[in-house]
């Protein structure tokens, strides 16, 4: 019994080290979304592409979809772009939100790098981004058939993120759970 008491500081120290090890391994830039399981905020954004219709929050429903926040000035978006194009080729519906960017620059970016989006809206003032709790680009929301946010990816989607996290989630959402 007495030796247990002497062991207590060692155990506490171990617990603190374990807490630090877990905490330091986490990326503090990744904030949990306050929108989880809540409907997307309402927005109605002008078009990016010439002669296009833009993007409304009410467009993002009916089936599980991705809403990808990007910008032509964003470097890691270029890294993510091939992944989005591959997903589009596989029939994954993706809508784009061109954040804090000139529509013309966004359109140019899509012409130069390929266009993975079903619909694209331009949010040059960045206000819709703030409504979505966007802290940087790229960020991607998984939205279910009822237009509710079910997941937020901060940073580019890697093929690994897709196969491990997002694809299984979208499968579940399609199955209607």
């Amino acid at each position: 019994m007495r030796s247990l008491i002497y062991l207590l500081p060692v155990l506490l120290f171990g617990a603190v080290i374990a807490a630090f090890a877990i905490g330091l391994g986490r990326d503090p830039a990744i904030l949990p979304s306050t929108l989880l399981d809540k409907p997307l905020p309402t927005f109605d954004l002008p078009a990016v592409r010439d002669g296009d219709v833009g993007l409304k929050s009410s467009d993002i429903r009916g089936q599980p979809r991705l809403l990808n926040v990007f910008a032509s000035w964003c470097v890691s978006c270029r890294f993510e772009h091939p992944v989005l194009l591959a997903l589009k080729a596989r029939g994954v519906p993706i809508d784009g939100l061109d954040w804090k960017d000139q529509a013309a620059a966004g359109a140019r970016y899509l012409i130069d790098n390929g266009d993975p989006y079903a619909r694209v809206g331009n949010d040059q003032p960045g206000r819709t981004g703030i409504d979505l709790g966007v802290a940087g680009v790229p960020e991607t929301f998984v939205v279910d058939a009822l237009g509710r946010v079910r997941y937020k990816q901060v940073g580019p989607i890697t093929p690994d993120d897709w196969t491990r996290t997002i694809a299984p989630l979208m499968d579940r959402l399609r199955a209607g759970t």
Binding site: I5, L31, T34, G126, I130
Partner: protein, 152 residues
């Protein structure tokens, strides 16, 4: 010369802490601007997370400062403005986190540690007094003798 130095000091003090708040962001009404500064110093910039939105040069911090001022002009209370931002970015943006089920360990941790320390010390002292070896028969006899000697 001294007077000039004093005047410069006085002006510098009067200017207060503006951080990264740009002149074109500021409100005409000094009262509203003062409230905006108070709010701005309580909100964390989500891009450079160790700075407040008033201190940060990040583009998003600028947008949030403008947003705070727009809400104030629209007639929101300080509380409503802060809630507006928290609703979008979460409690993380508060420089001073509220006490809730996620943060109780942060707030009560020091008290808990103090309690654990106090209990440990108490157990240690009790253990020390208890663990004194009991008197042997000869010691007890000697002690009795000393006691008698005192009484006599």
């Amino acid at each position: 010369m001294k007077r000039l130095a004093a005047m410069i000091c006085a002006l510098a003090l009067a200017a207060g802490h503006a951080g990264a708040v740009l002149p074109d962001e500021q409100l005409r009404d000094p009262k509203l601007e003062a409230r905006a500064r108070t709010i701005g110093s309580e909100l964390r910039c989500v891009v450079c997370q160790n700075q407040t939105i008033d201190d940060s040069d990040a583009d998003l911090a600028h947008d949030l400062r403008v947003l705070v001022r727009q809400r104030l002009v629209a007639g929101d209370s300080d509380r409503q403005v802060i809630d507006f931002i928290v609703k979008r970015y979460g409690n993380f943006v508060l420089m001073k986190p509220p006490l809730n089920e996620e943060t109780w360990l942060l707030w009560l941790g020091p008290v808990l540690l103090l309690a654990v320390g106090g209990v440990s010390v108490a157990i240690y002292w009790r253990g020390r007094t208890r663990s004194l070896p009991s008197l042997s028969d000869s010691e007890r006899a000697a002690l009795d003798q000393v006691g008698r000697g005192d009484a006599a």
